[in-house]
Subunit: 340 residues, 2 copies
């Protein structure tokens, strides 16, 4: 391991596994499109390879994309000594237009360009280390809410694969398991791309946490049978009032949770909160290719996200602690407290 | 067409299409496991072929299974002159232990055994014709509840493929479309076996009714956007108090419908009502092979059905009319009225 990996080693050695890792002279990524059938590692020595990996979802999850992009920018500076850096920035920034962390990470790297390749590499290590710290803090705050024997239900993928750290919602479940406060995880398969059945199941298997995958439409039956004690999900964007945009199906879980009086937790870093968005109604919802739902050309609608109104969210758990209703106030206070 | 198809012709010529049809000397079935990729017809000349088709879901849907089994019994009598009929009865009855219509249809056939092959064939034609009449009546009663421009959401498959007639919930949608009271159908894909994306989409395409398939977890987002005016589903068993067992995911739709004040209709023949079952809690829920959810061996739970409490059901629409709450009373009255 070369000196370039110093910060990464010191900060993320406690990760359950490292799907995004710096190998001294190149970025290595586990190809998430091939999981769980195969664990194929991609070696990226040039920024074009990083951009390609983000574009085709080989690396996904907003925080993980931010980390990968920061390394991609450093690789761009290494090979071009700065002449081509703006071009590399655009190449990486345009891969996924809606991922907030992507531009934020690239801007943080660009601000360090005068320091050269080593400085940009250091920024990338810092972004990875910051994410790990935030993930760890969220997990501690969230796990403290669990009780021994709890059975939790989660949706989509929110583990190390999604954050390049400890995970958000899945990090919380991992901590609760370690603390003896979790007995079973129900994993929504998360159609159409099966991030739950493919990625979360793979992560839980590695972590040794007991789980079962269920079709998304099964959650209601599990709750009416009394088999779910908590619902824990991540977030793609949180509005200033606490409305939460997350993977399609999240809203339905929140409605069912309310009927069955089951706590519904959102675990997300403060960087996911967008105070420029007043309410969920202002959050644009990505509509993806219908072919992901019906590959044979049958007409389909493929909404990638939905919005859960703040009234249905029991708590938003951030690295700054557990936020509760009314979220307009608790969110503003958390951001003030952390100087954001 | 031989004389044997007389009754079938006179009774079901108005079917949108005939997935279960008597071809004069054999039963022909469209293989539902191959839809929508291929329209493959199975020709059954012996009862063993009918049993095999039911067992491997080439023909499915409780009413359609009943019709197919009645023809299977007739085929058994043709080849054995009665010696082997009890054996054929058992062969057919044991294919799907939970389908209520199966044994009922076989018993109706067996009672006519003294009349020989022609009598059993006539019983099969009658069962098919009765189903078509019930389907038509349900469709008329249900369609009258619709308003021009309505957008309906449905789950699983409840059309001609499922009843060998006009369909239950999908028959209602077909009638509403014909009457100018329907503009669009949202089709839940219905994981894990995709009866919505495969079979309902195929039927709606043939009927020329505009539709889009959605992943099951999308229904909540559609409702919160105001894109759903009515929810229409079938039923596998209805308890005396109006609790409804139906394909997994139905309960979630009913909970979402209540939140959004959207009418939630169950369309089912009186034969689906089981007055020996007091409430939904007494309905056994089939748990199927987890491999249908995760073919790669990942742990999974595969509940085939769930129970929707009567309080969430706006109306149960039968061939005897529209039943409303309290269902204990309206169901008992409908059964009395029809002499069942």
């Amino acid at each position: 391991v070369s000196s370039g990996s110093r910060s990464a080693s010191s900060s993320t050695d406690d990760a359950p596994f490292q799907p995004v890792r710096w190998a001294g002279d190149a970025l290595e990524l586990i190809d998430q499109t091939r999981l769980p059938a195969e664990e194929v590692w991609l070696r990226c020595e040039r920024p074009e390879q990083v951009a390609d990996a983000i574009r085709r979802l080989a690396v996904r999850g907003a925080p993980a994309i931010g980390v990968a992009a920061a390394y991609g920018l450093a690789l761009g500076l290494r090979e071009s000594s700065g002449d081509r850096l703006d071009e590399v920035y655009d190449l990486l920034a345009l891969t996924r237009p809606t991922a907030v962390n992507l531009r934020w990470a690239l801007d943080r790297g660009l601000a360090a360009r005068e320091g050269g390749y080593e400085a940009l590499l250091e920024v990338a290590h810092e972004i990875a280390a910051d994410q790990m710290r935030a993930d760890r803090a969220m997990a501690r705050h969230a796990a403290a809410l669990f009780s021994e024997g709890d059975r939790a239900l989660t949706h989509c993928n929110t583990g190390p694969l999604a954050t390049a750290g400890f995970g958000t919602a899945l990090g919380a479940l991992n901590q609760a398991w370690t603390d003896g406060r979790l007995s079973h995880v129900w994993v929504d398969e998360t159609r159409p791309l099966l991030q739950g059945a493919r990625l979360t199941a793979w992560e839980l298997g590695r972590l040794g946490i007991p789980f079962q995958v269920v079709p998304d439409a099964t959650a209601g039956a599990l709750m009416s049978r009394g088999l779910v004690d908590r619902i824990v999900v991540g977030a793609d964007r949180i509005a200033a009032n606490g409305d939460v945009a997350n993977k399609i199906g999240t809203y339905t879980l929140a409605v069912l949770a309310q009927r069955h009086a089951i706590p519904f937790y959102v675990v997300a870093p403060l960087s996911t909160i967008d105070t420029a968005t007043a309410t969920g109604a202002a959050i644009p919802i990505e509509e993806r290719d219908p072919g992901e739902v019906t590959p044979n050309g049958t007409p389909a609608l493929n909404l990638a996200f939905d919005v859960t109104p703040a009234e249905l969210v029991t708590a938003i758990i951030t690295e700054a602690g557990v936020l509760e209703q009314p979220y307009n106030e608790s969110i503003a206070a958390a951001l003030r407290r952390t100087g954001r």
